[in-house]
């Protein structure tokens, strides 16, 4: 599900990635069985390409990594979280179009 510009995050490397990446980090929480997640995936891939170098785009599989979603009270997917300097700055629950996501990201780059 991840393309070349998209990192894969796990419960183990989430903290260090989000805290130690100078650029904003966009994390897409998804699962194999989630239809809407599959629909959002190409948009996330495109964002990764468009913001290459300026924003780190990552995916986290909630089936394999239950701790991080629980920490952020995620009870629905897809959910996108945007972190800057380790702080949560934006969240989007459910499907969103590329334009509105770009507007959110642009506030923080």
């Amino acid at each position: 599900m991840a393309s070349e510009n998209v990192q894969t995050l796990t419960d183990a490397n989430f903290e260090s990635t989000v805290n130690h990446t100078p650029q904003p980090v966009l994390v897409d929480f998804w699962a194999e069985w989630c239809g809407p997640c599959r629909r959002l995936a190409p948009t996330v891939d495109e964002l990764a390409k468009d913001y290459n170098g300026r924003v780190v785009v990552a995916k986290m599989n909630v089936d394999e990594n239950p701790a991080t979603p629980m920490r952020f009270s995620i009870r629905g997917i897809p959910t996108l979280l945007l972190f800057k300097g380790g702080q949560l700055v934006e969240q989007v629950v459910g499907l969103a179009d590329k334009d509105s996501l770009k507007k959110l990201i642009d506030k923080h780059v």
């Binding site: 699962a31 069985w33 809407p36 629909r39 190409p42 009870r75 590329k98």
Partner: protein, 319 residues
């Protein structure tokens, strides 16, 4: 500006894709603009048991992938994107996405319907944090937890039954004292030991917005006025749908609830614009009826393009 199209179809559920399939087979080279919720409401289902030809049922998203591939096989072009504006005041019509403008001789509207919400402020705040409109998407997060399902129709029963796989207990909250759901779904729900019912009851508020997660639903009995708190960690809302017609307000005739009005098959109030599926159907709302009306819309569009409209004057056609 892209080249002039014969047919543009907005929406990619059973109606839109079936229209695409038929229009493609009629050699009209249709463009299907799939929309944000590509694949439509079936993408949020699991097993569809009433699609003819699949005696053991078919998985909703797999069915949509098949119809999509079938439409593409005959030359339907499917575009990822969401239509942001339409101009139906002159021919050809203009259809705009955030990236491109398209012109077309005919338009098939198959934008479907979306889940209706209760309208509580807490519902919006807690969406994705315990409030959901999609059991198959979010049920997983409620393993061993008590939850509530709001509604009394087929969707509500399907969600309640599906959620018993995960939840410790499911309470169906319904405004009336009988269900609207079909007999078979009612029987399944009543037979399920994990499902309880709160009749004549509405949800007044969902707690706890301060904590950012669902801890309880405040229930109000509509007969007695009595209020009580139901401790739940999830609230699934299945109280019906609203048609996705905001793009067409003031441009196409619609009823008081926003459903597009069709006549003589799938014709709308603007010649050359056709409507199919849930966007114009608040009665049947089935995958198979949506697909059927998508087929009708493609045939109606084809006839219109051939210049043999059954209920239109020549002047209108060439206007």
């Amino acid at each position: 500006m892209a080249s002039l199209r014969n047919v543009i179809i907005i929406g990619s559920g059973p109606a839109g894709l079936t229209a695409g399939l038929y229009a493609a087979r009629a050699n009209l080279k249709p463009l299907v603009i799939e929309g944000l919720e590509a694949g439509g409401q079936l993408m949020m289902t699991t097993l569809v048991e009433n699609w003819p030809g699949h005696r053991n049922g078919v998985i909703g998203p797999e069915l949509m992938a098949e119809i999509r591939a079938q439409a593409e096989r005959f030359g339907a072009e499917i575009l990822r994107g969401d239509v942001t504006d339409v101009d139906l005041s002159s021919h050809p019509f203009t259809i705009a996405t955030s990236e491109e403008r398209y012109t077309s001789r005919t338009l098939i509207v198959a934008t479907g319907a979306s889940a209706r919400l209760l309208g509580l402020p807490s519902e919006r705040t807690l969406m994705g944090h315990g409030v959901s409109t999609c059991a198959t998407c979010d049920g997983y997060f409620f393993r061993g937890k008590p939850i509530a399902v709001v509604g009394g129709g087929d969707t509500a029963m399907e969600e309640a039954i599906f959620l018993t796989r995960f939840a410790s207990h499911v309470t169906v909250v319904h405004r009336r004292d009988t269900l609207r759901a079909s007999k078979i779904m009612q029987d399944k729900a009543f037979a399920n030991a994990k499902i309880a019912f709160e009749w004549n009851t509405a949800i007044e508020e969902i707690k706890d917005t301060g904590k950012g997660e669902v801890t309880a639903a405040v229930l109000s009995n509509l007969k007695t006025g009595e209020q009580k708190e139901l401790p739940v960690e999830g609230v699934f809302i299945a109280i019906g749908h609203t048609p996705n017609t905001s793009l067409f307000r003031g441009k196409l005739e619609m009823d008081a609830n926003g459903y597009l009005i069709t006549h003589d098959g799938t014709r709308t109030s603007v010649p050359g614009v056709f409507a199919a599926g849930d966007v114009q159907d608040h009665v049947y709302r089935q995958a198979i009826t949506a697909a059927g009306s998508g087929c009708m819309a493609a045939i109606d569009a084809e006839k219109y393009l051939e210049g043999v409209p059954q209920h239109l004057g020549e002047a209108e056609l060439h206007a």
